[in-house]
Symmetry: C2
Subunit: 233 residues, 2 copies
């Protein structure tokens, strides 16, 4: 008998802590988030963020990565802690503190079976047309959306959502979709992109019906975040 085995009443996961992950992707000119339909109470049949308990010996970020891999098939991606939600009433069963994470992934990296999923139980939903959500998950998604919109304005985070190669028009479309701002000026956008010096031409072109559009990719040696630009004092 293995003396190292934990006593049978030792819990496998922490009692009062869970991890929930907001996974964003861009698909079909839409900003989408991965949701799972709940098959039991509370909030049976409502949709929820992928999440779960934290194992007793598992770092928080590793729990988030485990959940991410299960839902997208991807291991290596942009992941960041978002916020810890802990209102006493957020789960009707017991007090659960949710440490939330924020992930960005290009839809071309998501394995097909994870992307198509079984839309009855797991699927990608437009952040602009969300179904009914369990717990405080609507609030968590809203918070993540604000963070994403801020982030793409001072960092290259948006590139985490793009395919490996893209046209300037596709990048401009992505910014308009994420910011939900379809007035974003095209000429000014291209000027700022040029000034930021973060793109390099790829070898090919995209057929567009009209003049083929040059493909670009993110320069891997580019500064992904504009830091130390002190403007207050």
């Amino acid at each position: 008998m293995n003396q190292q085995t934990s006593p049978p009443d030792t819990p496998i996961t922490l009692e009062n802590v869970s991890v929930d992950v907001v996974i964003f992707t861009l698909r079909s000119r839409d900003l989408q988030v991965c949701l799972v339909r709940r098959d039991c109470a509370p909030f049976k049949d409502d949709w929820a963020l992928p999440g779960g308990g934290v194992r007793v010996d598992e770092p928080l970020e590793r729990a988030a990565l485990r959940i991410l891999h299960a839902k997208t098939g991807v291991r290596d991606l942009y992941l960041q802690q978002l916020f810890t939600f802990g209102d006493p009433g957020r789960d009707p069963r017991r007090r659960v503190i949710s440490v939330t994470y924020f992930a960005l992934i290009s839809s071309e990296r998501i394995a097909t079976n994870h992307l198509d999923g079984d839309s009855e139980t797991v699927g990608w939903h437009s952040v602009y047309a969300l179904p009914r959500l369990a717990f405080d998950h609507a609030e968590i998604i809203q918070y993540a959306l604000v963070r994403l919109r801020n982030k793409i304005q001072y960092s290259a985070a948006a590139f985490e959502l793009m395919p490996e190669e893209f046209t300037l028009r596709e990048l401009h479309d992505a910014y308009m979709v994420i910011l939900n701002d379809y007035t974003l000026d095209k000429a000014n956008f291209r000027k700022k992109i040029r000034e930021a010096n973060i793109l390099e031409p790829a070898s090919g072109y995209r057929e567009t019906g009209g003049r083929p559009a040059r493909l670009y990719r993110f320069r891997r040696d580019a500064q992904p975040e504009i830091k130390a630009r002190r403007f207050f004092p």
Copy 2:
């Protein structure tokens, strides 16, 4: 007998969650943080951030405010969630997830008995000469310091550390202390402060030995944070 009383084995605080607060103040031309000396194992006699358990019915932020009030005597102050630290080994006794908060307070607002404290058990320590710290609290303070330094560059957070009225020289000193950068150009600093349009003259002057220096205060209607200054794209 009160039927509403919880059974005696119901815990008062959550099992796996604590709250720790990094409270910054400026004193004696130094950036200081409030620490408490531990009177029992583990890390007996080392210093730790003020913190403690979260009560079963208590929101996380209210727990942080409760701890802050106990250590500073102040109820209304700048408080923000910082980060949730959860490495399995961070507390040798059991798995504890620490939701950390970040607070800024002007030393003139701290009640004298809290400011002087009993330096044997609670006190204010320079972030540039910290004593030996328990748990991962050195890492938490370092993280908070980075956040503070970023924050004062795009927001008016530094004013939360200033007295109600101050001279431009005192404000310049504060920035140099927080950034730990004593080369910060005085003329350029004053120009940026003017451009930011966030100060208004107070009625008095400070005797300086030489020419009396005008006192300023933060304009309460000033924009405390520079938002929507999109510069990438």
